[in-house]
Symmetry: C2
Subunit: 163 residues, 2 copies
DNA sequence: ATATCCTGGATATTTGCAATCCATGATTTT
DNA sequence: AAAATCATGGATTGCAAATATCCAGGATAT
């Protein structure tokens, strides 16, 4: 069981987009360069975030990405859902309905308790992720950030911001 | 993100092994046949469960598998860990340390808040799974089982039990 | 001795993720 | 109008892990 790298990329990008001035955007190229990751692959995930209504994209020169709503209203779960999909990690194959002791399908209308247990655990996972917003992350990042890192980031952003 | 099918197989097998009489065992072939799944692949997972101390295996004729301890003392989490491994689903690649705004590694001694958030969610997932035992699952299965299914299973087990 | 069963390794096969490339369309600048 | 910049979406490739099978070797009961 493994989350795709795109989740980490998406959350980091959202956190960076949360600190740029209102009215400005960052192109995908800049987001990839800032994080030292593949540009062509990152934009795939940025597209997913845009389709999910988490980001807004502007085409053309002076184009790029920005958050679609305040960082405090974007949960980490929303980003994970957009990139990983909403399928549960556990996919019940209903093997209880197979084999020599199986009966007709109508008998199995009640959900398998094993499936229910796994889904309950995923609900707990989702609840935890839903309790964290991008704004929370930015706060955490800022609190433990070295002052030089902040300045270095701001200086770098200066030449990439659009709008 | 997807859990391997082996998890479902392992939990179902543990549930079945929880209801066979004390002192008896079931061979891997019977466990695979009962669930209508691949025998050669299932035994791989049964080996993992044995190595984890969840099952005990007996070689030779009259051999097979049985639970290593009471079903009430085997959590679903233990089975998941044995089959999926204990690696977290989120693997922080520390991309905050990459790119043009990065500083020397010593600056990043404190854990990344994004990583912390993801790990906290996995803790909630694990806590939920740790709260469920195989005995709980058997209880749930029995309560909603059709009486004919129980009889059919018992009759089928009659000819496969060893010991 | 023989038959049965677990063990562990070697080996395909398949799936999904990671990554790249390109043609297209939108928008700003010149 | 032309050129440059950027997002979009599809096609394709490479790769690692999960899935699945097979077989030789060791243990045990009949």
């Amino acid at each position: 069981m493994k989350l795709s790298d795109g989740v980490e990329w998406g959350v980091h990008c959202a956190a960076l987009l949360a600190v740029i001035p209102a009215g400005t955007v960052l192109p995908g190229k800049a987001l990839a360069e800032y994080h030292g990751i593949s540009e062509s692959y990152l934009v795939k995930h940025l597209q997913a975030l845009t389709a999910a209504g988490i980001l807004i994209s502007i085409p053309g020169p002076k184009g790029g990405y920005r958050l679609a709503r305040p960082a405090a209203e974007i949960t980490v779960l929303a980003i994970v859902d957009a990139i990983e999909g909403r399928d549960s990690a556990f996919r019940c194959a209903e093997i209880r309905q197979r084999g020599p002791a199986a009966l007709e399908p109508a008998v199995y209308r009640l959900p398998c308790p094993i499936n229910a247990t796994m889904l309950r655990a995923e609900m707990a996972w989702r609840k935890s992720l839903r309790a964290q917003t991008v704004a929370d992350l930015v706060g955490g990042l800022a609190k433990r950030a070295d002052q030089r890192a902040v300045e270095k980031t701001l200086a770098w952003l200066q030449e990439r911001l659009r709008g």
